[in-house]
Symmetry: none
Subunit: 248 residues, 2 copies
Amino acid sequence: MPDGPKVDTPSAAESEVAADARELTRHRVVEAAADLLAREGRDAVTTRAVAAAAGVQAPAIYRLFGDKDGLLEAVAEHGYDAFLAAKHVDAHSRHPVEDLRAGWDLAVEFGLTNPELYALMYGEPKRGTTSAAFHAGMQILVGRIRRLAAGGWLRVDEKLAAALIHATARGAVLTWLSLPDDQRDPALLTAMRESMVAAVTHEKPAVQDAGPAGAARTLRALLPEQTTLSSAEQHLLGEWLDRLASDG
Amino acid sequence: MPDGPKVDTPSAAESEVAADARELTRHRVVEAAADLLAREGRDAVTTRAVAAAAGVQAPAIYRLFGDKDGLLEAVAEHGYDAFLAAKHVDAHSRHPVEDLRAGWDLAVEFGLTNPELYALMYGEPKRGTTSAAFHAGMQILVGRIRRLAAGGWLRVDEKLAAALIHATARGAVLTWLSLPDDQRDPALLTAMRESMVAAVTHEKPAVQDAGPAGAARTLRALLPEQTTLSSAEQHLLGEWLDRLASDG
DNA sequence: ATCAGGCATGAATCAATGATATCGCCAACC
DNA sequence: GGTTGGCGATATCATTGATTCATGCCTGAT
């Protein structure tokens, strides 16, 4: 059973130049594989073809990535990073809902720009759970969702919002890529996006006043309507909300 | 170059019993492959394993289906037909929009019930264009869309509606299957469905009144900023807010 | 400066798999 | 009854993922 790619262990006496060389060949192999994938499709990405394109021997791939799946994983991560680096995302926009749209568009654009890579990452369901690139992509959205929530725009749970954003983007991209060129209607993408925005956000923020105090005031007023907390919990919650409301 | 599966040609002199026998073995092979796929996953579906399970020789598969892709295509079509036959869809319901919901639910249920098969059919984008099962699945929705259009419920183009329905279902299923069991929230499916309904039809969405959930979500996101409560109080408050936020 | 050890290199190699070739038999058609 | 065509069966080829093994180099210690 292979231990996976060798990594620097604290006890290992490994020179830095060797580690650098290793990182260099690793990068070369990943780029060769990514190029092969984008240029000739997934079936062209064989260990032999990658090794030949990168100028290394076949066993080197297994030393570097453990197995072919490890290589593909590295390719996915590299492709995603490269795309994000090229787009230099501007973190803040005027409106959090606009940020949401921009984030969704970005995810979709990644799929449309790198169809083979996207199919690799999000085609087979099983890969989703373990992929590092999967979480990396989600993480970008989490920050925007948090700001939506802070502004009182979020219509649903944060986790549900993340799932909705991802699912709509995934369906939009895969469906788009499935369609022949002459049937690809850009309206599909905008419709999916706006549908997602409507599902995830309110038209008006649920809280008028900004900051924790404002949110606490709003929740305090609506507290009698809730049915999930016990009366004791509700009572204590009410006191805390009063303190928070008077804090600002 | 294989001509694909042999079919009855008008000029061919082929006895009916031979054709029946052919159909029988064909069916047996398809079922063996489908069983293998559902039971042991896609990687277990090798030509040898299928041939052994069906009690035929490996070359028989190629005589019947042309190549492995033809076999998988047949498996997809068979699986879809079998699912629809088992559900005996009632064609007409009281309301065309309800029909739309039912059709979407059906498509999603198919995916959740046959994850491996669904990944086979809708995982890789390229397969979508040529697959017969792909069009068969779409065709069922087209009828319902037509009735929506006849009733004046359709908000968008019929083709766009079909694409939207398919894309939302595809994203919902693949995302659902990607999530580990403990993170699968049924609300994702209903939210995706209602989002689709809102995008496709004129039915006005049930305006869920704000309620405490929205304010709870807002306060939850802003909780780290508050300075009034102790960390223990904040922790417990966070848990309550999570419960309130996911209530709506 | 010398030497021991580990690690990468390079070739060969294994096992699994998709896909065919070939041969013979049996049944159906003329 | 002869012939043709399809099917069963065995063997086989080519590709590909993955591994083994011996060799040699380079690092780091003595």
